[in-house]
Symmetry: C2
Subunit: 194 residues, 2 copies
């Protein structure tokens, strides 16, 4: 066969992550990613057809990593404990991986949709299917049935509230402090109507 590759997909995704953490979304140029990986731009294009593909793949990889602990926590047979565990999982993950958490904040869904590379599947919308389904299941387990209002309330409590607790810190470049957990838990429980 051919020669052994010097750079793999993940090398460039990791480089892009580091650049994003340091320079923000707009700083993630192909030249910057290549320099960060100590590679020439040509090698980046050998792996990723375009900048859009690179960014989309980084986003997808990060979303999956993020969803894993969240979904595991939410699946707890006891709904109340499941909610608490889910909140803690999100806050804990963000504290352990602030750069990756920042990537999730940096992209806007609209930007992603606008530049979504068709070769990565139909649409980024599908990526959240697992979460959407888990939230429906949670709503059913908690409230007996899945009403539109109930689902919205659950989404607010389990997704938007922890996001709100993190946003300020991640946006400012800080690792989120542990002290936000109490307020986030209290707010989330209240939103669930306890």
């Amino acid at each position: 066969m051919g020669r052994k590759p010097r750079f793999g997909d993940d090398d460039f995704l990791d480089a892009a992550l580091r650049v994003a953490a340091r320079a923000g979304a707009s700083g993630v140029t192909m030249a910057a990613v290549a320099a960060e990986a100590a590679a020439p731009v040509g090698s980046v294009y050998h792996r990723f057809a375009s900048r859009d593909v690179l960014l989309a793949r980084l986003w997808v990889r990060t979303v999956h990593r993020f969803q894993e602990p969240f979904l595991a926590a939410l699946a707890d047979p006891d709904p109340e404990r499941g909610a608490d565990r889910a909140i803690r999982a999100v806050l804990g993950w963000a504290r352990e991986h602030p750069d990756q958490a920042r990537v999730l904040l940096l992209h806007r869904r609209e930007d992603l949709v606008a530049h979504w590379p068709t070769e990565l599947g139909p649409d980024p919308a599908g990526i959240n299917d697992a979460v959407r389904e888990a939230l429906r299941a949670y709503t059913r387990a908690r409230f007996g049935r899945v009403s539109s209002a109930g689902l919205e309330r659950v989404t607010f409590a389990l997704v938007d509230v922890p996001y709100a607790a993190l946003r300020r810190h991640l946006g400012a470049g800080r690792t989120p402090p542990r002290s936000i957990e109490a307020a986030a838990l209290a707010a989330s429980r209240a939103a669930l109507g306890d």
Copy 2:
């Protein structure tokens, strides 16, 4: 003196707002703003030295409009009622002015800081001084003293929580529904430690 102007500052700011609502932040090119106002690009540059200045001025104008009802509500002599009124003011303003609310979401503080035009003052940080001070005053009124933890909690409850309730809807291009108010109020009160 000279002739009467055909376009004023606000014509272009309004045009930029409409473009932003329609095409997102990245769609706000100078050519798009000019076209939206039915003016040539030269006229835009006659009013605004650069795109950065235009966007920064739009942001500042919008922030001021947004802060006004929030600060008025928060100044209520009764702290509990002040918090509720502040939440309602934010949610109500966003529902009445979804495009402008979206502008506040679309910009990232980091992007603004990175491109801040020096002629607009020292820094965008100063813009939130009034809010920061109001939150300190609120913390004092509510908890007797201003501790770091108390201030963080108040900020989360009165700024981050309503933001969280709005984000999903504004980002998706929808006008936020009234139904989010109950959950936001409950979450906010809980975060304040009631």
